[in-house]
């Protein structure tokens, strides 16, 4: 595969993986918790580096998952001790992220781990960092990692589809019929952490946040079906990647930044043009209603 194809594949995998997880977060009103987790996994990555002294994929996944779940636990704990939830999210993620950034500054220059990288990623280098087994190259590591996380997320969503749906829609009812709501919650948080860390290296924290939240929100404007929303959100994520990559080539700018902007463009389009919930559709409906009323009045 060519250099560009690998980058496009990576971007699409990020879009699909984050998109389908993100749709669930939007419905569960946990968008900002996702934002928090995608910042705090930086700490997990740095800690994993300090422990293993290498930038190996697996320890990082584990480190990120631990810190990701820890973030959710801490927010939950503060929340139940009486701190309002938005402030709880704010204080936890800024603290852990700040700690991660400070720790990174102790990492030597020789290691490819710095703050700008963590924020913006370096998708352009992905194709060169290949998975080598016995001297044979099997394609970029990032693609393998993202592919793995994608399959894992897909599997979990398919297996627990019913449980996720009911606990999202009506958690009280879910508890009453014996659905393990807490388990589902932390499973989702783990999925978010995995998606984040797998995407982190290639696209950075900012695009991860964008991919986790924006496609889901866009899909929410377009459909009322639960399953449809997950599929649409993944598709929108992938589409944003393609669009963003094109933009970055045309203007010669950051690839991940362009992908984030693309999610915004698609969101704005849905916001205006969605057949059911868009501004234009609403405006037309309002005009029609006014006309009907006028007709009624004149009749």
């Amino acid at each position: 595969m060519s250099y560009d194809a690998w980058i496009i594949l990576t971007g699409c995998l990020v879009g699909i993986t984050c998109g389908m997880t993100g749709a669930l977060l939007i419905l569960r009103k946990m968008a900002m918790l996702a934002d928090a987790i995608s910042h705090t996994v930086l700490l997990g990555i740095v800690l994993a580096f300090f422990v293993t002294q290498s930038l190996n994929g697996l320890p990082m996944l584990i480190g990120a998952a631990i810190v990701g779940v820890l973030t959710a636990v801490m927010v939950q704990a503060l929340d139940s001790s009486g701190v309002q939830s938005d402030a709880a999210i704010g204080v936890v993620f800024t603290s852990l992220f700040a700690l991660g950034v400070v720790l990174i500054s102790f990492v030597g220059d020789s290691v490819h781990l710095d703050v700008n990288h963590a924020l913006m990623g370096e998708i352009a280098f992905i194709p060169w960092d290949t998975l080598m087994i016995n001297g044979v190259s099997y394609g970029p590591t990032a693609v393998w990692m993202l592919g793995g996380v994608f399959l894992l997320n897909l599997l979990l969503i398919l297996v627990f589809y019913k449980e996720i749906k009911i606990s999202t829609f009506d958690s009280a009812m879910a508890i009453s019929i014996g659905v393990p709501v807490v388990f589902i919650h932390y499973m989702l948080m783990t999925m978010v952490s995995f998606s984040t860390v797998a995407s982190f290296d290639s696209v950075g924290a900012i695009l991860v946040v964008a991919m986790l939240i924006v496609p889901g929100a866009t899909a929410y404007l377009l459909t009322d079906g639960f399953g449809m929303m997950i599929i649409l959100s993944a598709a929108i994520g992938a589409l944003s990647s393609l669009l963003g990559y094109g933009m970055s080539i045309v203007f010669d700018v950051s690839i991940s930044g362009s992908m984030a902007v693309s999610t915004g463009i698609l969101f704005a389009a849905a916001f205006m043009l969605s057949p059911k919930h868009g501004m234009v559709a609403k405006w037309i409906r309002r005009k029609k209603m006014q006309q009907e009323q006028e007709q009624k009045a004149s009749a």
Binding site: D35, D86, S95, A217, D252
Partner: protein, 289 residues
């Protein structure tokens, strides 16, 4: 230790410390209002959204001018707040998702513009990156003056309208009933938040400045039940964090100022969470025993 003394007698360091002190106090003070209005994360989104503003100011005017940067930052910061509210008002998207959408897209745009500037323009463009995490060491007297004047103005306005801001947040319906323009005071508070974000991003950076609005008041809440005391204490906590964080960051090469200030505030929050006289966790246990 000698290093520390040397640092403290350095005129530039003194200026930076003064700036951190006033900025910390001002942000802690208005942070109390933001926290009680439950808009902490809107502050975060606004802060992230200032990055494209800074870049656009550079692209349009082609010069590195702090006042122009701050003007650009204020424009996109306010625009972001407007978008967050418009999305919630005109669609089925909830506030938290709306904040997330605006935050990530604006910041993404900021990154795009940053890379565009570094590849497509000539001239001195160093320092734009510093807006992401802040770099106190790179600041000069003029920058500090901007911070000091801005912060003092913010402190003055929020003290003058303390009573009005309080009632607009606590009981907006009642406030409207007695003829107070609640919308105006919401706007004033929003303006103050933009103000603090804009003057603070040079020192703390766009990613973490929101912590200065969130953490100090949250910590202060564990010590008092009076808004007056709370906002003053919050200001003090902010000021201490600012000074201590800046001091630590000047001791080592490449230590980022913003994250260190935030960590100091977090440490004070942790202490308050455990020991706070009002409902600190340990205090509660001791009282029950």
């Amino acid at each position: 230790m000698e290093n520390m003394l040397e640092l403290l007698t350095n005129a530039n360091t003194q200026w930076v410390l003064l700036g951190a002190l006033i900025l910390g106090f001002a942000s802690g003070l208005i942070g109390s209002f933001v926290l009680l209005k439950k808009q902490s994360l809107i502050g975060d989104a606004m802060a992230h959204a200032t990055l494209p503003g800074v870049c656009m100011a550079y692209l349009i005017f082609g010069v590195k001018s702090i006042p122009l940067f701050l003007l650009g930052a204020a424009c996109t910061g306010l625009l972001a707040t407007y978008f967050i509210q418009a999305i919630v008002k005109h669609s089925r998207i909830k506030t938290d998702a709306s904040i997330g959408v605006v935050l990530s897209v604006f910041f993404g745009l900021g990154i795009v513009l940053l890379t565009y500037i570094s590849k497509n323009t000539t001239g001195d463009k160093s320092g734009l990156d510093d807006f992401i995490f802040g770099q106190a060491a790179a600041m000069v007297k003029g920058d500090i003056q901007v911070i000091a004047v801005g912060s003092l103005l913010i402190i003055l306005i929020s003290s003058l309208f303390f009573k009005e801001l309080k009632i607009s947040i606590f009981d907006p319906l009642f406030a409207k009933g007695i003829g107070l323009p609640v919308g105006l005071f919401n706007g004033i508070l929003m303006g103050l938040v933009v103000g603090i974000v804009v003057v603070g991003i040079q020192m703390v950076g766009v990613v973490l400045i929101a912590a200065l609005l969130i953490t100090p008041p949250l910590a202060a809440r564990y010590w008092t039940d009076q808004l007056g005391h709370m906002s003053f204490l919050s200001g003090i906590i902010g000021a201490i964090s600012g000074v201590v964080g800046t001091l630590i960051s000047t001791t080592g090469e490449g230590l980022p100022t913003g994250p260190l200030i935030v960590l100091c505030a977090s440490a004070i929050f942790l202490i308050s969470l455990l020991l706070g006289t009002r409902k600190g966790l340990i205090t509660k246990v001791v009282k029950q025993a």
